[in-house]
Amino acid sequence: MLDELPLRAAGVAKTFGGGFDYGRLLPWRRDGHAPEPPRRVVDDVSFEIRRREIFGVIGANGSGKSTLIRIISTLLLPDAGEVRIFGLDVVRDTMRVRALINRVSADPSFFRNMNALENLLFFGKVYGLSGRDVREQSPRVLARLGLDWEQALEPMSHLSRGQQQKVAVARALLTSPVLMLLDEPTTGLDPRSKRDVQSFVREVREEHDATILLTTHDMEEAELLCDRIAFLSGGRIVAEGTPVELRRTIAAGRPLDEITMETVFMELTGRSVEEDEEPREVLAHG
């Protein structure tokens, strides 16, 4: 029996670098540059996502959003803590977790010389869909995203960034994931594509039984789409709550509608969401 909680993360941590550099055993490498110092990129992160919720993780570039998403999508092993998807451990039940999730990353990641349909056929079939399933469903999904069928038959490299990202969203939806991981799905898109993708995300939540984890550094998008939000800074969750709850934490008597989310982020994290985070070194291993 599966746990009904789509996602539960507890004490998740990830440090990059700092392992023993075997290259240094080679005589000509010995006095080369010093090994990369260890950096804790995700630090004791815990949160839960409820069924059919859109949960936003907001943080600047380099705050650890993608690393967190990769741990959840079974592409990185956490050093500490655990992530459960409907009760299944991402490390131990990898295959079953993979069947439940899908992901849209900031870069579209397609075979660029294949067309959209060929890409969707491949990425659908590896999730167990038949060619017929994919051929039947893709036109509808792509049309809903504002893509013409002719465009689906062009090599991906001929499509604009926005169009490619729409195909990426279609790819994720096609496999009917119960948990969708959207890692900055609208970053770098033109305003029109951005709106298309955003309204589609909302529609997916309404019409499908999907739960969504969305990362962004766009406050407007976060407020528009997310039921609850967590602020990530230096790999740590600094605050978490509904947009109203987050405003309330810093309101101190001010009317809530006068407080922008940018201000809330600033006050709670001590930095602007627009400013890239500098790599932060850690000395101890997590």
Binding site: L76, A99, R103, S105, F110, Y127, V178, D209
Partner: protein, 284 residues
Amino acid sequence: MVSIAEHTPAPGRAGGGRLAWAFVERQTNLWKRYWAWELVWLMYGVVNTLAITFIAKQVGNEGAASSINVSKLILFLLIGTLVWAYLSAVLDDISLVVTWERWEGTIEHTLMAPVPRALHLIGMSVFGVLHAVVRTLLIFAIAVPFFSIDFGGANWLTAAVVLAAGSFSIAGLAILAGVLPLLYPERGAQMSFMVQALVLLVSGVYYQVSVLPGWLQVFSYVSPATYILDGIRGGIIDGKSVADTWRTLAALGVFGTVLIPLGIVTFMVAEQWAKKTGKLKRQG
């Protein structure tokens, strides 16, 4: 509406064969899009085969060998270049499994799909072998008319059986070579190319391995390509039957049985390591 219950057994919804076949289809689609490159490789294969086989003619013209020996040498070199074209095509296709997807930017999406890694690698191997068969047959068909070769005594069945048996071991070797790019994102592809070069040196592609210095011959014994070349030459030049070739076939059977599982397991271990150290991909 999709319920979770419907979802949980998802990897089982499609049979393993179908999951593996998805990779064969994908590679075929890619291959169609890169047809110009295929043409280049075909041209290269033909020219290489001709260039090397003409060496035998030259030897004949200089009177260094009898005409019987010249015909034998022509066949010897022709088989060498063709088998090498075949083996390097398989090695290239499979060992690029990671490099190629890194370059396309699809690696994470492919690796996070609910496909057991063994099926993924088997799918890639099946395509590699089919692709290599097609390319090699074309080279053969184009190159042969350049020489007056008498295939009268050739046992084609032996050649085909040896090649089929040998393909397993080469696929296993290729999967092992394909692990390198997973471990070394920057230099791995070059390293797997070096593996290929070493196989070329020690396997007796253009000469009998007996001409190699003793210490290099040691490596000949552990290269499955040595046995493939031996078996195919035995069949086509000496007309040996499948039964006569059983030693070679047994050796190839052992290589295949060891190398394929070894390749798959090594790949899975390397993948875990890459997931631990963040070597799969870092941007985005």
